[in-house]
Symmetry: C2
Subunit: 431 residues, 2 copies
């Protein structure tokens, strides 16, 4: 069979890793894919940058859209990034030209996934995006194919390695957020502008994609409730350990009576849950199916090698002639399920208050909870201040309650004149 002619738009970390992978595994891939996988065209911003990869034999395009349109290319790999602009143009152009596309661009899919799936299926081409979620973990394939016989009841995961690295390091070292973030930036585990990661946006992109594959509904990034990890302190991490939890930034999705619930936020994860032990830059996804039960998939969530591995898997599928509905079911048949409003979420909560250590403080907090029908499960006030003007932490956990009631109770508490900071609220998950 003739070679699969690959055009790669974007030669950053992942693009470079992919070129290396396709070169190093050339023979094995030809055997496994049934045909040679050959890079015939590439495009990047700077033609003259030293990348340490061999691009001989590949046509250089200054314009990635021209690459996507070219007749010399059978499949287009988009590794430019960004939800719009050139990346989107490249993907749309390739699909319109009847070429399968492989992308690792989670922002693009989170914002335009449904439309791109419709276009790809109309064009009769594959749209692969294994590399867009959880790096090297073949989680898209697991959901779309491996667990296809199940109704997925719940899905959750550690989807951002930067946040998991920061939270793991905070726990191990006892240090505070800002300090560990600075170190992560110095090590290259966090970007110079880290907001995309630490505010939960990156995890939300990935969750929106996973939700669509798992529940067969259109990608609804706007329907994800997103909170980041900036407000987590060393005190919270220490209290979590004392209460039998670890704090993880999770993305969670499930079908509720109010619709599809999608949320990204820090969670108190019970120490017994396997995902509590996924540390550092690793990602993990748990999918619960009605027949299979609980399955867990763990691996490196980012980096040249893992992401190139995922992109290569999509390319071999295309070489093998596999073409499946982009999000498990044909795009035209995706079920338009409503987004469950976060106010209707129910669960248990951890709340840390910084209070002035005066008589009656706890009574005021307890009254606020009572007035909103929130039932307290435990309360801890460990330290006492020697300075009567200084604040001390008080930590409480609640029984299961509704988000809206909890929010009202926390607002009441925040207004008490003995409370000196915005309360830190972390949801407790039963996993």
């Amino acid at each position: 069979m003739s070679a699969l002619r690959i055009g790669i738009a974007g030669l950053g970390t992942v693009g470079g890793g992919l070129v290396r992978l396709l070169s190093e595994q050339r023979e094995a891939l030809a055997l496994r894919g049934g045909r040679e996988l050959k890079v015939v065209a590439v495009s990047a911003r700077d033609r003259h940058r030293q990348r340490g990869i061999d691009l001989n034999g590949a046509t250089w395009h200054d314009d990635p859209v021209a690459l996507a349109r070219g007749n010399d290319v059978d499949v287009v790999v988009e590794l430019i990034g960004g939800s719009d602009g050139v990346a989107r143009q490249v993907v749309e152009t390739a699909i319109a030209a009847g070429k399968p596309v492989v992308t690792a661009n989670k922002a693009l899919l989170a914002h335009h996934g449904t439309a791109l799936a419709v276009a790809a299926e109309k064009s009769g081409v594959a749209l692969g995006y294994e590399g867009a979620v959880a790096g090297g973990i073949p989680i898209i394939k697991a959901l779309r194919e491996g667990l296809v016989g199940n109704r997925i009841t719940r899905l959750y995961g550690i989807l951002n390695g930067t946040c998991n690295y920061i939270l793991s390091t905070m726990r191990e070292s006892g240090r505070d957020f800002g300090d560990v973030l600075a170190e992560a930036q110095a090590h290259g585990y966090a970007e110079a502008d880290p907001s995309f990661d630490i505010d939960g946006v990156d995890a939300a992109h990935k969750l929106a994609i996973l939700t669509s594959v798992a529940f067969g509904c259109p990608v609804n990034f706007a329907g994800v409730h997103v909170e980041g990890i900036r407000h987590i302190t060393a005190i919270d991490i220490a209290y979590a350990a004392e209460l039998g939890y670890r704090i993880k930034l999770l993305g969670l999705a499930r079908q509720t009576e109010h619709g599809i619930e999608q949320r990204v936020h820090p969670c108190m994860v019970p120490m017994e849950a396997p995902i509590a032990h996924v540390e550092g830059v690793f990602n993990a996804v748990v999918a619960e199916g009605d027949f299979v039960g609980k399955t867990l998939f763990q691996g490196r969530g980012a980096g040249a090698g893992p992401t190139a591995s995922a992109v290569a898997a999509d390319l071999v599928d295309i070489a093998r002639g596999v073409r499946l509905p982009v999000f498990s079911v044909p795009a035209a048949r995706l079920a338009k399920l409503p987004a469950a409003p976060m106010e209707r979420h129910t669960g248990a909560y951890y709340v840390r208050l910084m209070v002035l250590d005066r008589p009656g403080v706890i009574a005021g907090v307890a009254a606020a909870l009572r007035d909103e029908q929130v039932s307290m499960e435990s309360m801890l006030q460990r330290g006492r201040s020697h300075d009567p003007g200084a604040a001390v932490p008080v930590v409480l956990t609640t029984h299961e309650t509704e988000e809206a009631a909890m929010a009202r109770a926390v607002a009441r508490i925040a207004r008490l004149d003995t409370i000196v900071e915005k309360p830190c609220v972390i949801r407790v998950e039963q996993l």
Copy 2:
């Protein structure tokens, strides 16, 4: 597209689960698979047994081979079990008749996998066996497709839920092997004749299959070094904890300079390794690839629901028209790699001796190790006997050494007249 007409041979636990799954998920599967998945024929030993499943609309066959031959069936699911006899006949007949086959029969594939792959590929039909290894975990798909861009450097896993349940329960309860086995049998987690599980044969079947997919070589069950868990005592489990390990029955495969090493035996697994925390009836597989790094897949390893989930995934692949080389590469191109002899294995060892508590015992043991050039890492003798004729445990660990030297050293030690039982040797794994 017309329905995929399924014939099921074998209506035990898994067969019943599959019929239920195909009925409950009928609409979803039709949407995902692009066509209806319909059970049109069934066969089992006893037609009149109450199974609590609806077999209306399916033709009954007393002879499963006739079912496999029948023109009314597009795909044959073999759930009879056993490495030979009827199960093998059913699979061979279906393949010869040009029908794709799905089986959950690990014994059959461990013994005849290569020949069946050759036959299936010659016939141009798919041979699915996701359900044969690790229950509901889509590990075959992960290796054959999701990680296809990697050279797998090592693969290992907890492949037998019965053994993992027994070892987990022994650890949690401090009880001994026989006691926990009896309880597992009472709960249905172990068979009346448990030897297949606890002697490691079942795990070895699964390992031989995984090795073939991961390394692209013929299935070589005879090349697996197999040891079970009968000799593991509560003392060993307690010492393991003290030394920072958990004892797990692992199946491990890697490519070494001497060939492919395949082994199933109890291992000392470092507590930091994620697989150390996989407890009870769960299975897990870790695959290490040169690009992806370490990936872990965890889930229920047996039972009607998980296995039916795996079988259904294979059926949907067939409905979707996916047909891939059975063991990653075409059967004719499987690399005939030599089996690495176990004597050449190198690693660290844990040895528990039951010794008479007399002066000079340790000196004798140390001399035996020295004479075989085995370097001791640690030695523990915790209890002392009040009865001078009673034996006490002495535990030692070694630095990395060769299996053959270790075996000679242990044989020397066993001959010392202060040693009262066969030494218990457990390999220590760096995971």
